[in-house]
């Protein structure tokens, strides 16, 4: 099954970028991640505190009347790589139906050659964010809200 068209565009764009362009684009994605709406802050504050060093990623998904999901993130600016990757996924997947999100292959990003710009550990984080989005999609699929 093909990727949602916006995500496919992003993958194609990255595939043709130099390393420097990838870095610049990820920074731009990181900087364009919208702040968390106030109404979700209480929910975020219920997240368990994160020990030592790891990047706390808050993610919330809401189903729209047309069935598409909009994702909201809160990730500290001290972690631009995770912010950038989450913002990239939100740009590529916001508005997609749960079924479309669930059918995104776990290795869809391979043609993007992200390893030119970021370390494997960050790529693992990227896979983690996608997995988290899929879990959210599953929940929204089952409870319909």
């Amino acid at each position: 099954m093909s990727l949602p068209s916006k995500l496919q565009e992003i993958v194609d764009d990255f595939a043709s970028m130099t390393r420097e362009e990838k870095v610049e684009t990820l920074v731009a994605y990181s900087e364009s991640l919208p702040p968390l709406p106030d109404r979700l802050k209480e929910l975020r504050d219920k997240m368990e505190p994160v020990p030592e060093c790891m990047t706390p990623v808050f993610l919330h998904g809401e189903k729209q009347p047309d069935g598409g999901i909009i994702f909201y993130f809160d990730i500290p600016p001290q972690s631009p790589t995770v912010r950038g990757l989450a913002s990239l996924l939100a740009n590529g997947l916001n508005g997609s139906k749960p079924e479309e999100i669930l059918s995104v292959p776990g290795d869809f990003f391979l043609p993007m050659n992200l390893q030119e710009a970021i370390s494997q550990q960050r790529i693992n984080g990227f896979i983690g964010v996608l997995a988290h989005m899929k879990q959210t999609a599953v929940k929204l699929l089952s409870n319909g809200s």
Binding site: P51, C53, M54, Q78, P80, R122, G128
Partner: protein, 279 residues
């Protein structure tokens, strides 16, 4: 009581006053390599622990010749004062400093508090990437007195000499193989090297601004766990970055003459066939 080698540490104020000093090169080295592109200290260059400092094929650092290439490209000479700073309380700044020392660069400093403190003080950051005239840097042969390899770590453990495990408590106990909430990968077994004492790296810094604790506090911390200046100490963590932070504290802030960083760390030890492990 001052630090034993205070010349290895500078404050943000000192860096702010030396931004245009041709004898000073400021290097940013982060865990999150994108931070440099987001904004860095004016005039600073980036040295990434992974894409810049690791050997492209082997699990090792750059060779001496490759290191000379990196140093020449950032325009430093053997006399340049190199100041390192970064995110995560200077983990990778200490790692880069350690590697520069490994190849014999003597005049190195850590900016106390790193990126966090610089940002907290609202000091300038820029996206402009500077370029410096290329030099012909000459590195020295590796200084193996600051780097431990697995066989000597085994001897160290067998002979009950001091080993410091600087990972988080759950990594030491074997409950986790990697840092909490990081992917649990990289080692087949959990636990610690027999005889190692647990002194998490983070106990050496003030949480509020990432600066190092006072000499008195540091001395009490390490001596209280039996890690004393007379000993030949080896520090390790998961991949050698957090332990280079502890290495810096012991070697320069407390002046222990014989301290090594075991960069193979748990991702090597926890995979070694036949290596003893304690839980």
């Amino acid at each position: 009581m001052p630090y034993v080698h205070p010349e290895y540490l500078v404050e943000t104020e000192w860096v702010a006053e030396h931004l245009n000093d041709p004898n000073v090169r400021i290097i940013e080295s982060d865990e999150d390599a994108l931070l440099y592109a987001v904004g860095h200290i004016p005039g600073a260059v980036q040295v990434d622990w992974f894409s810049t400092l690791q050997h492209p094929l082997r699990r090792d650092f750059l060779t001496k010749e490759q290191f000379e290439e990196v140093a020449s490209n950032i325009g430093i000479t053997n006399d340049t004062t190199v100041v390192f700073y970064g995110d995560k309380s200077n983990w990778f700044a200490c790692y880069a400093l350690w590697l520069f020392q490994y190849y014999g660069h003597e005049n190195v400093k850590i900016m106390n508090g790193g990126r966090l403190k610089w940002e907290q003080e609202n000091r300038p950051l820029t996206k402009d990437v500077p370029s410096y005239q290329r030099t012909s840097y000459k590195a020295k042969d590796p200084d193996k007195s600051i780097r431990a390899f697995r066989d000597e770590v085994r001897e160290q453990s067998d002979s009950k000499k001091p080993l410091v495990d600087v990972r988080s408590p759950k990594e030491y106990s074997g409950e986790l193989i990697s840092m909490p909430n990081y992917p649990q990968e990289g080692a087949q077994r959990g636990g610690h090297i027999p005889g190692a004492v647990s002194i998490p790296w983070s106990q050496a810094v003030n949480e509020a601004d990432s600066t190092f604790k006072t000499p008195e506090e540091l001395r009490a911390l390490y001596e209280g766990k039996g890690i004393t200046p007379e000993g030949e100490v080896i520090a390790y963590c998961r991949i050698g970055e957090r332990s280079s932070h502890t290495w810096f504290v012991l070697k320069y802030l407390l002046g222990y003459p014989k301290v090594k960083n075991y960069d193979g760390s748990w991702t090597e030890w926890g995979n070694l066939v036949d290596a003893p492990i304690e839980k």
